[in-house]
């Protein structure tokens, strides 16, 4: 599902951020992406979400070479994945409901379908009853869960999470992780960037470890 083939990412200012990274995540596989800060985790995720293109090597997503994807194809590639951001990236002038509904509205779902799915997603992240609130009225953990709900509401085949449990207490983190493994069991590919070592060791998932831009464990 996600295939990195000798990917190198070079910036003019900082040099190589990723060096010759190769790995393959199959459909329905779950993996942690870990490494010290600055190891290239975020860059790797940005290559998957086609916010950037690799300097060398190929990134293949669901059989499609992202390096060759045309600009107008990018929205449709991005709809295949639900992305959870460390800084949530919520719209602060819209309600929780509208935030979660955004991917569905963009994909052109009707009002009834949107309502139904948003309700289901809210229920899944334990935010039922908060749909009319604005993100700033919520705690950090709740905002994070709004972000998670938004990522999964469209039932994407791929879920990418950048430090999804950074703002959650251990119990809630465990629940979110449980949620991810539920998705994985029905064939969703999940990649979680995290340096929550206890969480990673606790769950016996595959670990991709980056060190100074090189993949040391896969």
């Amino acid at each position: 599902m996600i295939h990195f083939d000798a990917v190198t990412m070079r910036y003019p200012e900082t040099g190589d951020v990723l060096r010759n990274v190769s790995f393959h995540l199959r459909k329905g596989e779950i993996a942690f992406l870990t490494g010290h800060s600055g190891a290239g985790k975020s860059t790797l995720l940005r290559l998957i979400t086609v916010m950037e293109r690799s300097s060398r090597g190929r990134v293949i997503l669901d059989g499609q070479d992202l390096g060759l994807a045309k600009e107008h194809q990018l929205p449709f590639i991005r709809r295949k994945m639900g992305v959870i951001y460390q800084d949530y990236k919520l719209l602060y002038d819209r309600t929780v409901f509208d935030n979660i509904a955004l991917p569905l509205v963009i994909a052109g779902y009707g009002h009834l379908e949107v309502t139904r799915r948003v309700r289901a997603a809210l229920d899944k992240v334990n935010l039922t009853g908060k749909e009319k609130k604005y993100p700033l009225a919520l705690s950090g953990g709740e905002q994070q869960r709004v972000g998670i709900a938004r990522a999964v509401v469209n039932k994407p085949p791929i879920i990418i999470a950048d430090e999804p449990t950074g703002n959650l207490d251990p119990e809630l983190s465990a629940e979110i992780m449980y949620l991810f493994s539920q998705f994985q069991q029905v064939g969703v590919t999940v990649l979680i960037a995290s340096h929550d070592i206890s969480l990673i060791t606790q769950l016996n998932h595959r670990v991709l470890k980056l060190d100074h831009g090189q993949l040391v464990t896969s």
Partner: protein, 346 residues
């Protein structure tokens, strides 16, 4: 208590994700009509949310829209001016006449006889005799020197025959020939043709019209630029939103849509505002103009913006709004700036 609630919550999570898991296998998407309604909803949302944003910042909006309305009201003001001048010159066409000032020694009876004979001329449509008394009365009414004429022993004004040539005699040559013919008759002191100053007036009007069209083009460009700049600032303020929408898979047209509607609203409201400005100014000016017109003996009724003109005015300004914002948003989306923004975030 707390523990059990958490446990319940966890159970909920588990159950709902199982439900979700079962649905996962189904292909996403509603039926055709649901999608059609969704498309309509998205447009309706963009239409009203963009209006909402304009209303939400009344001070900024009023300033921008007023500037635009003033520019647009100049354009429509020139149009109204042109329409009215046109109407004025049409009046002049009707009175495109030759005035024959008769010699002092010609009597009233003789003048009437002369008028009768001129009427028989195939090139003449009508002749009107203005007697000395009529002329004096007219002079008294309109000149403001009414009392002066009473002081004189004898009415100094000549009898005038106003000859209205036939419409068929439109070219200048024919009129000139007619004037020469009249000039030669012994009773006529001066045969004066009104055509000459009408021509001068017409060329002045043509020049004014040309000037107005140039100014209209400039003002149209100004309207485009002002709306474009307003939309650019709006785009800048909502950059985070644009980035997030891109991240969750929005197409360029989805991102562009609310800005197009914003441009539409700005143009639309400015158009209405401009109509209001022009109409109010015309109401203020009307009395003065009609008084002036009556002093010249005319019955000039000022023409306001017609319904068609008004609709065209609003349609054009709305269209300019859409055009301006389309240009700006498309340019910004294709320029590297926005891409860099996407790239440089965290």
């Amino acid at each position: 208590m707390k523990y059990s609630r958490k446990n319940q919550a966890r159970k909920n999570v588990r159950e709902s994700s199982l439900r979700q898991a079962k649905k996962q296998t189904k292909i996403a998407g509603g039926d055709f009509f649901d999608r059609l309604h969704a498309y309509r909803d998205v447009h309706a949302h963009a239409l009203f949310s963009s209006l909402g944003r304009i209303v939400a910042e009344p001070f900024n909006s009023i300033m921008t829209i007023s500037v635009l309305a003033i520019a647009i009201s100049f354009v429509s003001g020139f149009h109204v001016l042109a329409v009215n001048i046109q109407q004025l010159t049409e009046h002049l066409d009707a009175s495109n006449q030759i005035s024959l000032f008769l010699r002092d020694d010609v009597s009233e009876a003789h003048a009437n006889k002369l008028a009768e004979s001129i009427r028989k001329n195939i090139n003449v449509q009508n002749v009107k005799v203005i007697s000395r008394e009529d002329a004096a009365a007219e002079f008294q009414t309109y000149s403001g020197f009414g009392s002066a004429i009473n002081e004189l022993e004898k009415n100094p004004l000549p009898i005038v025959l106003q000859v209205l040539p036939k419409k068929s005699l439109e070219d200048k040559r024919g009129l000139e020939d007619l004037q020469k013919e009249f000039q030669q008759s012994p009773e006529v002191d001066v045969a004066q043709m009104d055509l000459q100053w009408i021509e001068r007036l017409r060329s002045i009007i043509d020049m004014v019209k040309l000037f107005a069209s140039i100014l209209n083009i400039l003002l149209g460009a100004a309207v485009l630029l002002i709306i474009g700049n307003t939309v650019r600032i709006e785009l800048h303020n909502r950059r985070d939103e644009v980035v997030i929408q891109k991240l969750v898979g929005a197409t360029n047209s989805f991102i562009r849509r609310p800005f197009l509607y914003a441009g539409f609203w700005i143009g639309f409201i400015s158009g209405i505002w401009a109509w209001f400005i022009v109409t109010v100014l015309m109401l203020i000016v009307r009395q003065a103009v009609e008084k002036l017109s009556s002093l010249y003996g005319g019955s000039f009724h000022m023409l306001f913006l017609s319904l068609t003109d008004t609709l065209a005015l609003i349609a054009i300004s709305s269209l300019l709004g859409v055009l301006a914002s389309w240009t700006v948003v498309s340019y910004q989306m294709h320029s590297t700036k926005l891409k860099k923004q996407v790239r440089l975030q965290k």
